[in-house]
């Protein structure tokens, strides 16, 4: 069975601190995609990144970076020098790479990040 765990329910940091959001997944698929989405208070889920299971290179985009480790089934997300605008709920998600039939996206429960000025 596929599962995504985000053990941190809520995190509070002071502005300019770095923060890492943890994501651990379970799957029997050999190829899969992992995603991160951001949901600000307005409600829309904003796509941040998609990572293919056979590409374990870490990725950096501005203040955001992602650490994918297949050996520990983790896909952690780090925000450097956090800002108030980073306050949101962040979801990690997993799906099969191949659409042989519809394989739904499995979302984690989300981590609520509050960045305090």
């Amino acid at each position: 069975a596929q599962k995504v765990t985000q053990a941190q329910t809520e995190i509070s940091v002071v502005e300019k601190e770095d923060v890492t959001l943890d994501c651990v997944y379970e799957t029997r698929d050999t190829t899969y995609y992992l995603f991160w989405y951001k949901q600000p208070p307005s409600g829309e889920l904003v796509f941040l990144i998609r990572r293919n299971s056979f590409d374990e290179q870490n990725e950096i985009s501005g203040r955001y970076s992602w650490n994918f480790q297949k050996s520990t089934s983790s896909f952690n997300f780090t925000i450097t020098a956090s800002q108030v605008v980073d306050s949101a709920v962040y979801f990690c998600a997993l799906t099969n790479h191949l659409k042989t039939s519809y394989d739904k996206v499995i979302f984690g429960p989300g981590t609520s990040l509050s960045v305090i000025p």
């Binding site: 409600g43 796509f47 659409k99």
Partner: protein, 115 residues
């Protein structure tokens, strides 16, 4: 940029009313999805559609139906709204690209309150 729009951000309805939630995407995506999001339960898939006039049940289809008459539009219908359908409803769409799953892009959501 992918644009997914939903007809209402906030909606208040009475128990027993028929409710239509509309979703439109402008990127010619084949696949469209309806989710509901509730505290403690996360995102749950209600229905999805691979193509015009096609629909598939998700995890929680009871009490809902859908309609996809045009590729860009996917409607969620609550035939007789009940208080337990008070929720945040999120629409998403994705492209079909060969045999791989593609990224789902979400609309702004509709917060529905059923009184």
């Amino acid at each position: 940029d992918v644009k997914v729009t939903q007809s209402s951000r906030y909606l208040v309805k009475r128990t027993g009313e028929k409710v239509f939630l509309e979703c439109v995407q402008d990127m010619d995506h084949e696949n469209m999805f309806w989710y509901r999001q509730d505290p403690g339960l996360g995102l749950r898939l209600i229905y999805f559609s691979y193509d015009v006039k096609m629909k598939e049940k998700g995890d929680i289809p009871e009490g809902y139906s859908v309609s996809r008459e045009k590729k860009e539009r996917f409607s969620l219908i609550l035939e007789s709204a009940s208080t337990n359908q008070t929720s945040m409803y999120l629409c998403a769409s994705s492209l079909t690209w060969g045999q791989t799953q593609e990224t789902q892009y979400f609309g702004p959501g509709t917060r529905l309150l059923v009184l």
